[in-house]
Amino acid sequence: MDLRAAPRILTPVLGAACWIQLALVPLLSRRASAVPWLLAALSLGLLGAGARESVRHPERSLLLYAGVFPLSLAACAVAAAGAHPARYDAPGQAVVAATVAAFLAASAWGWSGSRDRVPAVVVASAVSEVGPSPPPPLRVVGVVALIAVALTLAVVAPLGVSRAASVHFTRGGAALLRGRLALVAAGGLSLAVLWTFVAGGALLRRAPAPARSGARAWFYLCAATVAFAMRYWLDHAR
């Protein structure tokens, strides 16, 4: 089996497993109304779109897998929870954490080194003595760091919505549970996914580091401003 095709199969399978645990199980256990079911169908459709785009447009597929699909899943989970957020016991949290970590790792694996396919004409030329570039020396460190961050986030996020854990939170945390969960969870989750991929991508990239990009620096500063605003609002919601 060609290992290059493995992420294209693993990622939608693991994404479907995340969808079952984080969307389908709460929906079935709670007799949710129509809106959460529609959001669940939307997130499943986004996962399928990501799988379809993974062959021709890997970057578009990454945006769907790592950006839009987690956001829609978070929206579905929040809509299904209503006034009573879902609680996961310790084994359940471990299973969810492992599934989310595996999904993120498979998405990163499928994205690293891939490029959009464009039509090209191959012209015969002299044989080159230069072989493929070696893998980056910190690839193992990058994979371990990626899995550790994803596990940490996947465990902290369910703890954040757990009613049992709210006694350890400040009033800012209680405000989180009272109904502003949707905005902070969606924003925090998108930041978490972006953080994980950019941090891991730097270590997993085969090519040399890119040149300075002012646009990228502005993007980081805008993201920092958004994160600061979210923290300021949360801390002053007490």
Partner: protein
């Protein structure tokens, strides 16, 4: 072909950008410290968001410190 040297103003501007980048990387220590303090107070979500702020600021600084062209 001899590479042309950029004008002095351009060179000065590039060094200024690098100094700003270095300053951002140093300033990023403040939200990281706040994240550790928030963790100590068991304010997990606030600590996570402070960590994000620190990470984004430090990487904005890192981006500004990079050379003009790829290695």
């Amino acid at each position: 072909m001899i590479a042309l040297k950029p004008p002095a103003l351009t060179i000065a501007f590039r060094w200024l950008v690098r100094v700003v980048g270095l300053a951002l990387m140093v300033c990023a220590l403040v939200p990281y410290w706040q994240a550790l303090r928030a963790l100590d107070q068991r304010d997990y979500v606030s600590a996570l968001l402070a960590g994000f702020v620190g990470w984004f600021i430090s990487h904005a600084g890192l981006e500004l410190v990079r050379p003009e062209s790829a290695e």
